[in-house]
Symmetry: C2
Subunit: 405 residues, 2 copies
Amino acid sequence: MSLIVQKYGGSSVGSVERIQNVANRIKAKQEQGDQVVAVISAMGGVTDSLLDLANQISSQPSQRELDVLLATGEQQSIALLTMALHEIGIDAVSCTGRQAGVLTTGTHTAGKVHSINAESVLNNVKQGKVVIVAGFQGINEQGDIHTLGRGGSDLSAIAIAHAIGADKCEILTDVDGVYTCDPRVVPKAQKIQEISYDEMFEMASSGSKVMQARSVEFAKKHNVVFEVRSSLNQNSGTLVIEETPAMEAVVIRGVSIERAQARITITGLPDVPGTSAKVFTALSGAEVNVDMIVSNNTHEGLTRHSLTIPQSQYLQAKQALEPVLSAISDEAQLESEQGIGKLSVVGVGMKSHHGVAAQMFEALGQAGINIGMISTSEIKITITLAEEDLERGAQVVHTAFGLDA
Amino acid sequence: MSLIVQKYGGSSVGSVERIQNVANRIKAKQEQGDQVVAVISAMGGVTDSLLDLANQISSQPSQRELDVLLATGEQQSIALLTMALHEIGIDAVSCTGRQAGVLTTGTHTAGKVHSINAESVLNNVKQGKVVIVAGFQGINEQGDIHTLGRGGSDLSAIAIAHAIGADKCEILTDVDGVYTCDPRVVPKAQKIQEISYDEMFEMASSGSKVMQARSVEFAKKHNVVFEVRSSLNQNSGTLVIEETPAMEAVVIRGVSIERAQARITITGLPDVPGTSAKVFTALSGAEVNVDMIVSNNTHEGLTRHSLTIPQSQYLQAKQALEPVLSAISDEAQLESEQGIGKLSVVGVGMKSHHGVAAQMFEALGQAGINIGMISTSEIKITITLAEEDLERGAQVVHTAFGLDA
């Protein structure tokens, strides 16, 4: 008998029929002899409707009150799923984040899991009950309702799996697993059987939409093995685990892309301490999400920064930088390029294989695709390119690294 | 500076515009120098939508899970109202039932207020904040979410007013106050300025829809003065207070009616101990709400019970009684009359005035209206009559007791 945590996302519980489908899946698991704790998102669309109501009332609603409002979505879905389980004869009980003992820290609408007191969940499990937990939420030290931000239900599931010592954690979603690339972009993309936490983290950070990077980070930190699989069929999914020596045999695990990026290049900055800090403090103060940063010095003693940001944040970045640059130096200038994309290859095999970057650039060069910025980490290489080259670039790189199977 | 509890019902917060209207009313109160704690129902229609979802999943949903589901309605409305207050510059904070310290007992979906730990609400009040509390909900000893059943938000408001030692409790609703009769039935009905708890209780028990009787009972027990008034205008409403000597000068405070009733008469019961218990145990086991009971013995040593029930429960009452009657005696028979109404007059003045019943019956007799069952309490006389005579009966009685003003 295994103790299994399953997480079902909003589209998996998006209607009465789908809730009943999830109930039947849980029943099937139980009939196999497993004990199930399920972590549930709000019914698809509910969170957006609630946000819409809030925005009708205020353009900048209180984050604390947004948490109170948004947490109702999951509270509704856990009650409905629990009723659906009762209806098919399964003894089940719902828990809000508070009742599941999820204690949070951090700012409202972007909470972090501080700790989990799993006593109540475990007591219910011991009594043979299926426990249905509201994902995405907990309470903070003040006892206030606190949500975990985008992808928060994945984080809830992994944290609860850790807290109750589950044998397995399944992230059930509307895709079959993690693919070598988005199959809508690369039709030859293959489902990955096993992937390391680090690879999964880098893919999530570089555009793969399957999971949020921070959930993967939490799983790695606490060594929670989890499987990403479909809630719509019984196919096996992708197992996310600690890196094994065999994994290094594969040079590249996957290719990820990110659209709608912009590049900002700042030139003519005097190469003196504190100048860069002024630039990046201005951007972070304006809540601009800077991703790649490439910096170098010219022989005139000047510094040049190039950085990528989401295109949607281009104007706020420009407005934040202009006064700072004027204050620093008359020479300081801002150039930009919009309509670019990012293409990344990820794989722990990079650590033991040489020439991966060269192989990637050659494949792109042969396809006539121009490379913009380049940035590398131990297991990832990211480049920028024109957005119209993005899909073709992903395809040629996917083929070049033998991922087409 | 007064500390005021205001309760706003579902129709008062039924849309974004109405929520903003409530926020403005609260702001106006605060600008008068008062401190406000507001108890809020779910937005009109939300509770019904949630019940509908639950019923799509189960014809008999778990009561515990219904509480989890239904409590989200108030949690949403408190967050939205708090945002609306912030938007007009008022420092406000929301509290769920749990955060307001509402501890409950009793069965799920029909909770009772056990006690209130008002520390958190009072702390917020001390900081000058408007506190917006979710009505209708609390948590029980197990920490489970628990709703208070129909009219529960009124009960929440009165209990919180008591717990925080409020100077006043206002029940804001879509009517101007308590009337001597429903103005749709008796166009000459007058708004009552002051009414005693007992009168209010009896009117609520006998068909007045303004408030649930148990909220009035709670207010009386803890001596919480409250005012029923409109959330749509600034008219003064009806003050519900402890009985004063002056109140007895008025014989009848009001007339209330109840439609769609049925009478069941059981004849031929042997007049021996335990027989009546069998009859009424069968009815209560079938969850039939028995109201009036009139019993008497015949000279043959037989007992006869007449009782009224809601017409909608007639079939379940009949099915519950038939096997019991057969088991008691071959003589026992069940007669019934459907399509009847109840008409009540209520007033503490009855205690010191004689001939009230005679005056009521005479008015009805002169109008050619036939009286069925009669039952009396210290401050109420209730009769049954044909439902088609109900409105006319209310009008003639209203006139006869000088309530037309």
